[in-house]
């Protein structure tokens, strides 16, 4: 009898621009960019210079604090530019692909390796960068042992792709990926699936499946961890996205670093929202070419709640499975707060949009109001299916009270889990940013 966990709290934001389950053909990517900011907690040090050749899987940069941890190039070609921002911070490594996809000759056969040897191999090939750890939502620290590995097999975020559509042919690679993880650490691997649907994961051996039912964030891996094996102080949990598990699986089977992805291009500004086959770090301009309405849009790598503002010149994020394009909201609205609001989406029923419970909305990037002190209470609780007091946690984060943060469960949450709290907040508090600062603060104090 499979375990089904029913979650009532949460919110499905009904956005316009859901992806059709077809694969669009697009032009091949013109540039590939890796943005170290996508890699949480990673301080990059370049290993090659501008103008040098790169091959598929050759190292681009390493982690300042963990020198054996590198990030590999998705393509072969030339490193065109290391783009820097303020204080010479590295923003992106931009590669001009040569289209040949020549693999690096430092590829190795990991299928015979286990434990420490496997760990070293994964660090040096760049495969390690796909393993994320909690607490803190950073690339897993190689020396720390996790108590479990969690994988979410579905995505409930607004306009999220159907992972089954992306993964249904990847049974062998997923199984290979699981086998690698099994040889790496001997801990249980939990997979969360959507109830009442079929999933390729049901044919995979060596995993524990839990079914979840409910609105977003039911698909967030953090929610799964909380309900299956919550993180206590001092414990570590690894998480990995199924698409990234496929990459590890491909390496296991073929010895090649292959980061091709199928992603969804979604949002109200996309003419034909559907799926596209591309590669990690591909340039967004090519992916969305001839498929966009209007000029003044926001291009988000990831979903609209947690994604990065990538701009049209940007790149598909390191881990991202979708590009969302929505209109910018930099306009004034005359007496906007007083209008009936038939087309305004809200968790509350203060706008007459409640008359249309099935309607899909175009939501722009406007704040819809000014930032205020906390007035409303109980809003965050409605959208967070966890035994955590979100508003108290955020207040503790604001006051940097480390002991209270610990007690209130800071180790169990990352930004994406509280993203809906930020969305619904009447006082327009920057919940994710406050939580990120608190996570960095706690991590600094605890190390």
């Amino acid at each position: 009898m499979p375990t089904i966990i029913k979650l009532k709290k949460g919110l499905d934001i009904r956005l316009k621009g859901k992806p059709q389950e077809i694969i669009l053909t697009t032009e091949p990517y013109k540039q590939v960019g890796i943005c170290p900011d996508n890699l949480p907690g990673f301080i990059p040090k370049p290993l090659i210079k501008e103008g040098e050749e790169v091959l598929v899987g050759s190292s681009l940069f390493y982690h300042k604090d963990i020198p054996e941890m590198v990030v590999a190039s998705p393509v072969s070609g030339t490193l065109k530019q290391i783009k820097r921002g303020e204080k010479r911070k590295i923003l992106s490594f931009i590669i001009e692909p040569d289209g040949k996809q020549t693999p690096t000759n430092s590829n190795m056969d990991i299928s015979k390796l286990s434990d420490d040897d496997l760990r070293k191999a994964m660090l040096s090939t760049g495969l390690w960068s796909f393993i994320i750890q909690r607490p803190y939502n950073i690339i897993a620290i190689p020396t720390l042992q996790p108590k479990a590995i969690f994988i979410s097999g579905f995505d409930t975020a607004p306009l999220a792709p159907n992972l089954e559509f992306i993964l249904h042919d990847e049974k062998e690679t997923l199984q290979a990926g699981i086998n690698v993880l099994k040889r790496l650490v001997d801990v249980p691997i939990y997979v969360g699936l959507k109830s009442n649907t079929t999933s390729v994961f049901e044919q995979i051996n060596g995993i524990h499946i839990t079914y979840f039912d409910g609105p977003h964030p039911a698909g967030n891996v953090g929610i799964h961890i909380h309900h299956v094996s919550p993180i206590n102080k001092g414990e570590i949990v690894w998480t990995i996205r199924p698409e990234d598990l496929v990459i590890i699986g491909r390496y296991e089977l073929t010895g090649m670093y292959d980061v091709r992805r199928t992603i969804a291009v979604v949002g109200s500004q996309v003419k034909q929202p559907a799926y596209v086959k591309t590669i990690q770090g591909a340039d967004i301009a090519t992916i969305v070419k001839n498929n966009i309405y209007g000029e003044n849009n926001r291009y988000i790598s990831g979903n609209v709640l947690t994604g990065k503002n990538a701009t049209i010149e940007g790149f598909l994020g390191f881990y991202d499975r979708m590009i969302s394009v929505i209109p910018e909201g930099d306009r004034y609205e005359f007496l906007g707060w007083a209008m009936p609001g038939f087309n305004k989406f809200s968790l509350s029923r203060t706008f007459f949009s409640w008359l249309f419970p099935k309607k899909e909305y175009v939501i722009d990037t406007n704040y819809h109001g000014g930032e205020r002190a906390y007035v409303m209470t109980g809003q965050y609780e409605k959208v967070l299916p966890m035994d955590i007091l979100p508003q108290h946690l955020i207040k503790a984060a604001l006051s940097k009270d480390i002991e209270l943060l610990e007690k209130l469960g800071i180790y169990e949450v990352v930004e994406e889990d509280l993203a809906l709290c930020e969305f619904v907040c009447t006082s327009k508090i920057e919940v994710q940013h406050i939580l990120r600062e608190a996570l960095d603060f706690v991590r600094k104090e605890m190390s």
Partner: protein, 389 residues
């Protein structure tokens, strides 16, 4: 409205840093954001935001107050013409009440908003929307005969000492509107208790018809004149003496329906307050030694400001308990204490105001224990795992 936007954009630089009217920038900002939702876009975190903001929230509460306000105006006229024994049309009664109530509303808003704008200016804050509701609540919980200067003094006191000294909207411990009423109650008791303040003209000594009494149902109950309390239906409809907005339970329930349907007010507080009142009413019935204690719990809910307090005051999110479990406890105790004070303390026939203020003070304590319980659950889990490993 492009011409208006252009005008605002043209004068805006004067109110920004370095402009000659910079000292008025909060005021400018308040009017600008009133007219136009700002063009600010998300920079980090979630790219999209819920359409709701504090202005919308507060306007919904004001809309919910309108039935009680309109009925209150009508009732002022109704009570007046009843007192002088004159026939009058519905419109006459309403118009009479309208003219008496409107000045109180204007004085309340002008006094309160003046203080708000001054503080926002001094602190370089935005003007907060919180007072829009307080400014409407204050007139509704005052007797119609209240002198206007008293409304003004009470409002200024409530805004400064009830809110601004704590840091403004969102930081206050006590409900500002109730504080205004408490201020009048303790500073000028004659103007807000007894039989005279509730019907227009009685304090000015108008000629009333024989047998007319301006006593509220609660005053009758406290005097053990049970036979003078109207039946439940009359209490429900609300053509009885009382504070301007509190008399019609029908109008209040329409407001409650709006607040609950839109999701603005918390149903947990509302329901548990009513349950607390019913519970205490039953308990008093069981141990009844005087006629007041024998009054049915349902009648208790329909008398005085109980329902108005439960719907519009106890639910104030800032001063109520902030945890979801805490809200049940908070509301229940308000109901219990309100009826307890009402029945057992003859000096305060209306216990609701004091019960809510009292529980405002205790809400942080309730929250503390709810938060502690959450922490304990987590600690227990931590300890179990350390034992295992």
């Amino acid at each position: 409205m492009n011409w208006l936007r252009k005008k605002i954009d043209a004068i805006k630089p004067h109110f920004e840093k370095g402009g000659k009217f910079y000292f008025l920038h909060s005021t400018f900002d308040a009017f600008e954001t009133f007219l136009f939702v700002p063009n600010k876009v998300t920079k980090q975190g979630s790219h999209i935001r819920d359409a709701i903001d504090l202005k919308r929230t507060m306007s919904v509460v004001i809309i919910a107050l309108i039935p009680a306000l309109l009925f209150g105006m009508y009732n002022v006229g109704y009570q007046y013409y009843k007192a002088i024994g004159q026939e009058a049309s519905f419109f006459d009664m309403f118009w009479f009440g309208f003219l008496k109530v409107l000045p109180i509303i204007i004085v309340s808003y002008v006094s309160g908003l003046t203080v708000e704008f001054i503080f926002a200016q001094i602190r370089h804050h935005e003007v907060n929307e919180g007072f829009l509701v307080s400014g409407m609540l204050i007139p509704l919980i005052m007797p119609v005969n209240i002198p206007l200067w008293m409304v003004s003094v009470a409002t200024i006191f409530a805004v400064i000492f009830g809110k601004e000294v704590f840091g403004g909207t969102g930081m206050n411990i006590f409900n500002p509107a109730l504080l205004a009423r408490a201020f009048v109650f303790f500073a000028y008791p004659k103007q807000i208790s007894g039989d005279l303040p509730w019907t227009y003209g009685l304090t000015q000594g108008i000629q009333t018809v024989d047998g007319f009494s301006g006593a509220t149902p609660l005053a009758n109950a406290a005097a053990h004149a049970i036979e003078r309390i109207p039946d439940n239906w009359t209490l429900f409809v609300g053509l009885i003496p009382g504070s301007i907005g509190e008399t019609s339970k029908m109008a209040i329930l329409i407001g409650a329906a709006i607040l609950l349907f839109t999701g603005i007010a918390n149903w947990k507080v509302m329901i548990s307050t009513v349950l607390g009142g019913l519970f205490m009413g039953f308990v008093l019935n069981v141990f009844a030694v005087n006629p007041f204690m024998e009054i049915s719990p349902i009648t208790h809910l329909l008398m005085g400001g109980f329902l108005f307090g439960a719907v519009f005051m106890a639910t104030d999110p800032v001063t109520a308990s902030q945890t979801e479990t805490g809200k049940y406890i908070y509301g229940f105790l308000i109901g219990v204490i309100a009826i307890l004070i009402r029945v057992l303390n003859p000096a305060y026939p209306e216990g609701m105001m004091l019960a809510i203020l009292f529980m405002n003070a205790f809400a942080p304590l309730i929250d503390h224990y709810v938060v502690e319980a959450n922490i304990k659950r987590r600690m227990k889990r931590w300890n179990q795992t350390t034992v295992k490993s």
